[in-house]
């Protein structure tokens, strides 16, 4: 191999994106070298201000002829381009009895070839170009991505749009993928973590809504190639598409290219009802258990969370801070400090307060603890839930939490890809860019009393559901030192959920 000098890619070039990528500016000079004494405590250090302006969404936003919104963030540091296409389709558009059709359609879109290329030819071409092409579907959106080196951009776009517009849905590939899905279904009860995730979602949202239901063997067998063809034909089209482009592109030329490639791409089906309807499950408070022969119980405790009604609602920001102090903030949160750091009862312990866009999120506290100490750790979690509802946080807790939200904020816009995709996501869910501009100020306005008030209002001990997966024989009695047993929780009542058949998800005996 020749040893001639090699090219060096200089990385620090993102400013080429111009004003679009608002660069932070160090306003003050760093600490002077003249004062070499190291202070005894870090509080004595002084820092310059960090100015960070949110990138202006409007300057990155473009509309193609026909109305497709595209966010473009140029970045020429590396010869790489990323494209993300988000369609307003997904599980919410599946017909009855065909759960999983959206995901399978998205998967075969990528794996099933195109009108002009067999699956093998398509894969060979993509791999030879080192192009990464993906396609997935979730509850209310389907996402396709392209990641390609600049010189292969044209060929990469050819493949990508041929895939989106003229998929083959090759019958043999469909059968192979269905067989793989069946094997994955068989593993549904193998990992305790998967059992917890499934049963918790079912307890919170029921088993029938598209946000929680899961494919069974019957669904899988009912889905044929025609279903995929119809789902794609009816729900994929430029009229429900949002694009995000980032990397080594020229804005004007990529827009022209995309406009050309999307001309005449329309879904055959009527536009879906929007916003989509949420689950209508009535939660049944209480303690639930699923048996699993493992040394550690996996625990969730919680109830439904909230839905954004209005992104200017101060209560939502106070709730974010309340959750951060309770269990969202890692080592500065109460659940981690008490369950992990004080007592050594779990590796991870924390909480999340879900604020959903189209329906309520989920509030949950969670940890994994050896079977005999599940009860003791649960007692601590419930004590902390009670405390955050009763007492306002300390001034220090409030200060640390708010500072963390405000000062980590620039990380939301760390890379060109993140910027483009954040704004594209806002477009999809209908959130005004104003949200980001005012975010820090709204967090800054949260008071200690507000935190207590929203905690009392939105955390509801009467509605709590607790789920534990583990070995009940060891969990029930509690620890040898008698610190707590499951008898003292939920009035000593527990519902032992029967294991489910992994293929039908019906309770097995």
């Amino acid at each position: 191999m020749s040893r001639r000098p090699t090219a060096v890619v200089t990385l620090a070039l993102a400013l080429a994106a111009g004003a679009a990528l608002a660069a932070p500016v160090l306003a003050a000079k760093p600490a002077k070298a003249k004062s070499p004494a190291i202070p005894a405590r870090p509080e004595a250090l002084t820092f310059g201000a960090l100015r960070f302006e949110v990138p202006e969404a409007a300057r990155l936003r473009h509309e193609l002829p026909g109305g497709v919104v595209v966010y473009v963030v140029e970045d020429h540091a590396l010869p790489l381009v990323k494209l993300q296409a988000t369609f307003r389709t997904g599980a919410f558009r599946e017909p009855a009895g065909k759960t999983g059709l959206a995901a399978l359609t998205a998967s075969l879109l990528r794996k099933g070839g195109t009108r002009g290329l067999t699956p093998e030819e398509f894969d060979e071409k993509a791999d030879f170009l080192a192009a990464q092409i993906g396609s997935t579907a979730a509850d209310v959106r389907a996402t396709a991505t392209l990641d390609v080196i600049t010189p292969a951009l044209g060929e990469g776009l050819d493949l990508f749009f041929e895939m989106l517009r003229e998929p083959r849905f090759d019958e043999r590939r469909l059968e192979i993928e269905k067989g793989i899905l069946l094997e994955q279904m068989k593993q549904r009860n193998d990992d305790a973590g998967a059992i917890v995730a499934r049963e918790w979602t079912f307890l919170m949202r029921g088993e029938t809504h598209f946000a929680s239901r899961q494919m069974t063997r019957a669904d899988l067998e009912a889905i044929g190639r025609d279903d995929l063809v119809a789902f794609h034909r009816d729900t994929y089209g430029a009229e429900n598409l949002v694009l995000a482009v980032s990397g080594d592109v020229d804005t004007a030329s990529i827009l022209a290219d995309l406009g050309r490639r999307l001309a005449g791409f329309r879904a055959a089906g009527a536009p879906p009802a929007w916003p989509p309807a949420g689950p209508e499950h009535t939660l049944q408070p209480g303690l639930y258990h699923v048996e699993k022969e493992i040394p550690q119980g996996k625990v969730r405790i919680g109830h439904l969370g909230s839905q954004w009604r209005d992104w200017s609602d101060p209560e939502m920001y106070a709730l974010m801070v309340a959750n951060d102090i309770l269990g969202g903030g890692g080592f500065t949160s109460r659940l981690t400090q008490r369950i992990r750091s004080d007592e050594g009862l779990a590796y991870g312990a924390g909480s999340g307060y879900g604020i959903g866009t189209f329906w309520p999120g989920i509030f949950q506290m969670g940890f994994d603890s050896k079977n005999p100490t599940v009860a003791y750790a649960s007692v601590i979690a419930l004590e902390e839930l009670d405390r955050i509802r009763r007492e306002p946080p300390t001034a220090e807790e409030l200060r640390v939490s708010k500072a963390s939200f405000v000062d980590t904020f620039p990380r939301s816009f760390e890379s060109p890809t993140q910027i483009a995709r954040t704004f594209a996501n806002d477009q999809v869910i209908g959130r005004a860019p104003d949200y980001w501009v005012r975010y820090r100020e709204r967090i800054g306005a949260v008071t200690a009393e507000q935190v207590r008030t929203v905690a009392e209002k939105y955390l509801r001990p009467d509605e709590l559901v607790m789920l534990v997966v583990g070995k009940w024989e060891e969990i029930g009695p509690g620890d040898a030192d008698g610190r707590a047993s499951m008898q003292q929780l939920f009035g000593g009542r527990v519902e032992h959920l029967p294991p489910r058949d992994p293929l039908t998800l019906q309770p097995a005996r």
Binding site: T6, L45, I149, D191, G344, K370
Partner: protein, 597 residues
């Protein structure tokens, strides 16, 4: 500067894709590569710094690697490298307590009690060896003296808590807007990292040098419990974790890679503060550390700060000991047959070459040939013969040794034996046939693209620098693609023949544990009471595995005889069992016709 660099980038990527344009020609051997300009300097005490300025960022990602991992442990203290990593977040003389003097006294008193506790556990182990108790750590089997000691210890913990400033190390960073404070330990290195706002860079220097200069390992025993929970989480409560751990222990004969970084549970129960302090003084000397910063900073200022803050830490008194044990060559195949709540699967693993060994680059190419959407494994096992739901390979070249593994999960009626035969056929193909030029070009294109993608995320860039430094040389980041693109088809054949031999392999098969839920239960049995269903399923399982046609024929006779004696509600059980026997007999008959065993 910016434009020049951009032109170069274009040109090199153009060269890269020429191959794709023509569809046949391999990538030219002198294809240039992506390279990160790294500024490097070393302090007088031996601590090395690597700087990658990225002025477009609002942050600095900072980290450092201690070139020590679980390979530096010995039996009895397995897990200490990782546990010690946890202790590095517990503060210092200044951070974490309101009364450093009393705090130190309490720790000494706690340690004296723990010495006595450890002595009692020696007795418990003796009782366990003699069969007097089933578990030396059973809380119910604790002698009264032990319970008393533990309760006295707890009193000290509570006194210490009154003086403590809880998790202050974390709180200071969090309040400053830093995020992602964490660390990771592997067999060869321990890596600590965080992201700080660009204006708070000096805080990073203060905090990181503080915990190296005067750490205090308070809350040692609560944290030891946390690490045990981490082990239960990552290993003991996962479907294949405990088996994977034993596979690794079987794979290595002499080298300390044989125990997992998390450590054996018995050792985690016994680790002492003295073990941790000893570990720190031996391996955390600045001459065994490298720091890296990626982000928005002035390199000249960083150099001043590094000298001021880290320069005050004295060089280690003794040289850092090397791992002297070499892995002995494997003489014969090793095999493990496991049963778990898992998809039936197979893993085949070979001893290979360590980090920066010339063969390691060839093995990267082998991995590229085998993996991916158009890789040989997916083609043969998943798409063509359809015996696997997934198949992949993994190439690992670590500091002291390397290994290459192939794994696959069954689909349908296929067995791990079927997977093994198919994987072995791919191994033989690598040994027997030169790689076609176009296929090698495809892998080369992917290597070249990967070398750019590796530089995209500043955090990933930081981790790569620290990992490679932990293995011995950060500059691997900049030389890897060049070395790998130079690999030839002959190299692939040579390396495959050298390492992929029967006597150098370790094979693990995993079968689904009998009675676990994924087994298809015939519909007629679905409504039977649980224990009876299990009993019938046990019998069906034996039938499905039987190769003895004569015995099966006998069973048919027995079933006919039993039928008349059973109450009507059990008739359908007989139907099901009889059907299973007949199906098995047909399968055996077909196999006999096709001349298979």
């Amino acid at each position: 500067m910016r434009d020049a660099a951009r032109r170069r980038t274009r040109r090199l990527a153009g060269a890269l894709l020429l191959a794709a344009g023509f569809g046949l020609a391999p990538v030219p051997a002198e294809t240039p590569r992506a390279e990160v300009p790294v500024q490097e300097f070393t302090l007088d005490n031996g601590m090395k710094f690597l700087l990658v300025p990225r002025p477009e960022q609002a942050t600095v990602m900072g980290g450092w690697v201690a070139k020590v991992g679980s390979a530096n442990e010995r039996p009895g203290i397995t897990g200490v490298a990782h546990f010690f990593e946890h202790m590095m977040f517990k503060g210092s003389r200044v951070i974490g307590t309101t009364n450093a003097a009393r705090d130190a006294q309490i720790i000494a008193e706690q340690e004296a009690l723990q010495e006595q506790i450890r002595a009692l556990y020696a007795v418990q182990r003796q009782r366990y060896r003699r069969g007097e108790i089933d578990d030396p750590f059973d809380p119910a089997a604790r002698p009264r003296e032990l319970v008393d000691l533990e309760s006295r210890f707890q009193t000290l913990v509570e006194e210490q808590r009154q003086l403590m400033v809880k998790d202050e190390f974390d709180r200071i960073y969090t309040e400053a807007g830093a995020s992602g404070l964490n660390a990771t330990t592997n067999w060869d290195s321990t890596i600590y990292f965080i992201t700080v706002p660009a204006n708070k860079l000096e805080l990073w220097f203060w905090m990181e040098s503080e915990r190296l200069l005067q750490p205090v390992f308070r809350e040692f025993y609560a944290e030891r419990d946390v690490v045990q929970e981490e082990r239960r989480l990552r290993v003991d409560s996962t479907p294949t974790g405990p088996f994977d751990e034993q596979l690794n222990a079987m794979f290595w004969t002499s080298h300390p890679y044989k125990w997992d970084t998390i450590g054996w549970m018995s050792d985690l129960r016994m680790l002492s503060l003295a073990d941790a302090e000893d570990f720190f003084s031996t391996f955390y000397a600045p001459n065994n550390l490298t720091a890296a910063l990626v982000g928005n900073f002035d390199p000249a200022q960083v150099r001043q700060l590094a000298e001021r803050y880290f320069g005050r830490i004295p060089r280690g008194k003794k040289p850092v000991p090397d791992v002297v044990t070499l892995e002995v060559p494997q003489l014969a195949e090793k095999r493990m047959n496991a049963e778990c709540d898992c998809q039936p699967q197979l893993a085949v693993q070979f001893h290979t070459a360590p980090f920066q060994h010339k063969d390691s680059y060839v093995l990267d190419i082998v991995e590229g040939l085998l993996n991916g959407e158009t890789g040989r494994l997916r083609k043969r096992l998943v798409l063509d013969s359809q015996i696997a739901a997934a198949a992949s390979s993994s190439q690992q070249s670590w500091r002291y040794n390397g290994f290459f593994s192939l794994s696959a999960e069954t689909k349908g009626d296929a067995t791990p034996a079927d997977l093994e035969a198919a994987l072995w056929a791919e191994i033989e193909r690598l040994r027997d046939e030169p790689v076609p030029a176009e296929e090698l070009a495809k892998v080369n294109n992917q290597i070249a693209a990967t070398s750019f993608r590796n530089l995209e995320s500043p955090f990933f860039l930081l981790l790569q620098l620290l990992f490679y430094e932990g293995w011995g040389d950060w500059s691997y980041l900049n030389t890897w693609s060049e070395q790998t693109l130079a690999v030839t088809a002959e190299d692939v054949q040579r390396v495959a023949r050298k390492y992929f031999t029967p006597e150098n392999r370790t094979v693990a098969t995993y079968l689904r544990k009998a009675g676990s839920a994924a087994e298809p239960v015939p519909a007629e049995l679905a409504d039977l009471p649980g224990p009876l269903q299990q009993q019938v399923m046990g019998q069906i399982r034996q039938i499905r595995q039987s190769t003895d046609a004569e015995r099966l024929e006998q069973m048919l006779g027995q079933l006919a005889a039993q039928r008349s004696q059973l109450p009507p509600e059990f008739q359908q059980i007989v139907d099901v069992v009889e059907r299973e026997v007949r199906e098995r007999l047909e399968t055996l008959a077909r196999a006999a016709e096709e001349g298979q065993p």
